[in-house]
């Protein structure tokens, strides 16, 4: 394995033998004929294709459906590692919700001088229409995906908080299902904490936030932009698993102060809408007038307590990349505790001294657009050509406020199965967090994304990333 030892290998810790969490798996793996494993890997692909677990790629010629490659070597986390992570995630998510409530009410954090006011005022992700609105149950982010990376035995960093509409949970569930079908024997040998409760927990969390107008058993629906959306499979999957209706904007309208869906027997009110449509497109009367994906007037119904929208409109202000650098302060401010999870050191290019530093060190840094996502519009300095760096330098200099920069982290690796055997690849981890008035629930594990290209640090599925099943071991 021609891997430089600077990257922490989670399976063998860069040593001869598997680390403790991988010990049993390592034994099993050593006893498996490589040909059988390769056959299993091909079977997995057929399984995914037949099940239709695909995503649509934006901007590709035929708008075709692709599989996210799945690697059969699991990513394994020990009970102890997980319990530390969950404490950190829980703390962070509590802080995010408190922050959102504060930002849309008294803005104490600004009054206290811990966050510059212009960072909020001039931020597109801040929705003035949410000022003074308290969502049902005072929950803003019902579903959060916290992206973590690991750099050594004991060091984890939060790469970003996804507080809008994090995706990928269907892959977490289907990856496990696939592993269970392919290697049932592994799960009798190794005790792995199950993830299959997620849809039930999601439904419960959403129902617990029913709006004041709800009278009976809460009616939950999933709002999708439609079958051409890249994550449509997931929207359908979650609706199906929760026993909720999967609706599009044109199925909905305002009826008697409620948002109602057109059924075969007429219009029926919805209590909780798990929307997978961005804020901008949610309500053509209140936001982008050209949107066909939303429901005219839904924001007014929401403010009047006629429906719960999950996540709440305006939560993007909490996962904005410019806000990110203040997260340690935010956690401390609202919880009164020291942050358990670390932030990646971040240069805000809006600040002249930081900008000067970043411009000088472009070849070492990762530079991201403040509002970008999906791995688009970013520069990975060490992997970029001179030409790419110069092109980026020009963009950066013309709109510095649009960018932040971070050091290139030495992301940990987990091996994938290649034709030549195991070979380490960089990974990240997105645990899925559910928030309701009854508390915070974190499904053990989450989605491990893996950069399939050797040496690559970009794990996004739109950029050639794959996924792995993620195991959290029982104690």
């Amino acid at each position: 394995m021609g891997e430089t030892p600077t990257f922490f290998n989670e399976m063998d810790g860069n040593g001869e033998r598997p680390r403790a969490p991988y010990a049993r798996y390592g034994d099993w793996f050593a006893g498996e004929p490589p040909e059988r494993l390769r056959r299993k890997a091909r079977e997995a692909e057929t399984f995914f294709r037949r099940t239709g677990i695909t995503f649509n790629v934006y901007g590709s010629e035929a708008a075709d459906e692709r599989l996210i490659p799945f690697d059969i070597v699991p990513r394994i986390i020990s009970a102890k590692e997980w319990s530390r992570l969950t404490r950190g995630i829980e703390q962070r998510v509590r802080a995010i919700n408190a922050f959102l409530n504060d930002i849309y009410h008294r803005q104490e954090i600004i009054r206290a001088g811990r966050l510059p006011a212009e960072l909020i005022e001039n931020n597109d992700a801040f929705l003035p229409k949410m000022i003074g609105v308290t969502p049902p149950g005072n929950i803003y982010t019902h579903i959060v995906g916290v992206d973590l990376v690991r750099t050594s035995e004991n060091e984890f960093f939060v790469l970003e908080d996804n507080a809008r509409t994090p995706s990928g949970v269907s892959y977490m569930l289907e990856n496990r299902e696939t592993m269970l079908q392919m290697f049932p024997e592994l799960f009798t040998k190794i005790r792995v904490r199950p993830v299959s409760d997620y849809p039930k927990m999601l439904r419960r969390s959403l129902a617990a936030c029913a709006p004041p107008a709800c009278t009976g058993r809460p009616v939950v629906a999933v709002l999708t932009p439609g079958i051409h959306n890249s994550a449509y499979y997931e929207h359908a999957f979650l609706a199906d698993q929760m026993g909720a209706e999967l609706v599009e904007g044109h199925d909905l309208r305002v009826v008697d102060g409620r948002i109602a869906m057109r059924t075969t027997l007429g219009y029926t009110p919805i209590d909780v809408l798990y929307r997978r449509v961005d804020d901008d497109y949610l309500d053509p009367l209140n936001f982008r007038p050209d949107s066909y994906l939303g429901v005219p007037g839904i924001l007014d119904i929401y403010r009047a307590g006629g429906i719960t929208i999950a996540n709440a409109p305006g939560t993007g202000i909490a996962d904005d990349k410019a806000i990110y650098s203040y997260m340690p302060d935010i956690v401390q401010f609202y919880t009164g505790e020291k942050p358990i999870l670390k932030n990646v050191p971040t240069w805000r290019c809006s600040e002249p001294s930081s900008l000067a530093y970043v411009l000088e060190h472009l070849s070492e840094l990762v530079v991201k657009e403040v509002h970008g996502s999906g791995g688009y519009g970013m520069l990975v300095g060490p992997a970029a050509s001179k030409k790419e760096i110069e092109a980026f330098r020009a963009k950066l200099a013309s709109k510095p406020g649009n960018y932040i920069a971070q050091p290139t982290l030495a992301l940990s690796t987990v091996p994938i199965l290649t034709r030549a055997g195991l070979s380490p690849r960089h990974v990240d981890l997105r645990p899925f967090v559910l928030v309701s008035p009854d508390g915070i629930e974190i499904t053990p594990g989450g989605l491990t994304r893996v950069a399939l290209k050797k040496g690559s640090l970009v794990v996004n599925s739109s950029q050639g990333g794959g996924t792995k099943d993620t195991w959290v071991l029982e104690d």
């Binding site: 294709r49 037949r50 099940t51 239709g52 079958i227 449509y232 359908a236 999957f237 609706a239 199906d240 909720a244 209706e245 999967l246 609706v247 599009e248 044109h250 199925d251 869906m261 057109r262 059924t263 075969t264 027997l265 007429g266």
Partner: protein, 313 residues
């Protein structure tokens, strides 16, 4: 259930039914061409007419010969009713209504699409045609088996069945209408070999040649064929059978929902009308006139269903 979902199911099953019928039509055409090479061009033209695809076929400059027609019917993406087009449409509808389908049904539809897309990516050679058609039949059976075997008998199932039988009735009526002149009573007097081949084609297009033989032995008479495909209650592709099925499914639907809708009244009227007819009366009205009337009624029925259960608004 969402109105959109009901509509999606209805269309998904219409498209699946159409795929199967179109494949059968290609099969019938292929056989007739094997037996009667001298009149092949006319026969291929009438196959195109039966598929209601004259204009679409002209638009692609199609020639009335075996390879052109078969490829047009099976795999031309320009033809909105080609097997590949309707299979893709069925699968898109299945994605749309994914939450209403069992995993088995969804996977069967998805697999059908994957398999056909691969098989029909290249022109179908004559030697491969029987295999390709067999595969399409097999995939249809797979979807139908998954539907019947795994779906709950609720509104979802009813909309699926209503779509299936409306499409089937339409397709059968069209098959008959294109060849109505060989089924007229006057033809009986002649009964040439040519007519025999035509009759065989009609039965084959409706997948009815075996069941017809069981019931009527070797005696192939046009009036009996017309009676069999229009009014027989045991024949699962006859017009009356389809109307009885739709009446049943709309009946279940309305009683489940506790409502009465115009579509139910309409189909009951149409069914009763067919129940009371005998084939001589049909011929008296004029076979072509009767079929035109029926196709029209069937369309009106589809429109009622769409409105009654709010597929679109």
């Amino acid at each position: 259930m969402l109105g959109k979902t009901a509509g999606g199911l209805f269309w998904m099953y219409r498209y699946l039914e159409r795929a199967e019928n179109t494949a059968r039509l290609a099969d019938a055409g292929f056989r007739i061409a094997l037996t009667r090479s001298d009149h092949a061009e006319d026969e291929w033209a009438s196959i195109i007419d039966t598929a209601s695809a004259r204009a679409a076929f002209a638009a692609v400059d199609g020639k009335f010969d075996g390879p052109s027609v078969i490829n047009f019917l099976l795999r031309d993406p320009q033809n909105p009713s080609s097997v590949i087009s309707v299979t893709e449409a069925a699968r898109n509808n299945a994605r749309l209504v994914r939450t209403a389908l069992t995993r088995e049904v969804w996977e069967a539809v998805n697999e059908t699409w994957i398999t056909l897309k691969d098989t029909l990516a290249r022109p179908v050679r004559e030697t491969d045609l029987p295999d390709v058609l067999g595969m399409i039949r097999k995939q249809s059976a797979l979807v139908r088996g998954a539907t019947v075997g795994t779906m709950l008998r609720n509104d979802i199932y009813n909309f699926a069945r209503i779509g299936t039988f409306i499409e089937r009735a339409d397709n059968i009526a069209r098959i008959l209408d294109v060849k109505y002149y060989v089924l007229l009573p006057s033809v009986q007097l002649v009964g040439s070999t040519l007519d025999n081949v035509q009759w065989e084609t009609i039965l084959r297009s409706a997948s009815a040649e075996r069941s017809f033989r069981w019931l009527h032995g070797g005696e192939t008479r046009p009036l009996t064929i017309a009676d069999f495909l229009i009014l027989d209650r045991r024949m699962p592709r006859s017009l009356l059978y389809c109307m009885r099925k739709i009446a049943g499914n709309l009946g279940y639907l309305c009683s489940d929902y506790g409502v009465r809708r115009p579509s139910l009244d309409f189909v009951l009227g149409l069914r009763d009308e067919l129940e009371e007819l005998d084939i001589d009366q049909v011929m008296e009205r004029g076979l072509h006139e009767f079929l035109t009337y029926f196709i029209n009624c069937n369309n009106v029925l589809a429109g009622h269903v769409e409105q009654d259960f709010r597929f679109n608004n």
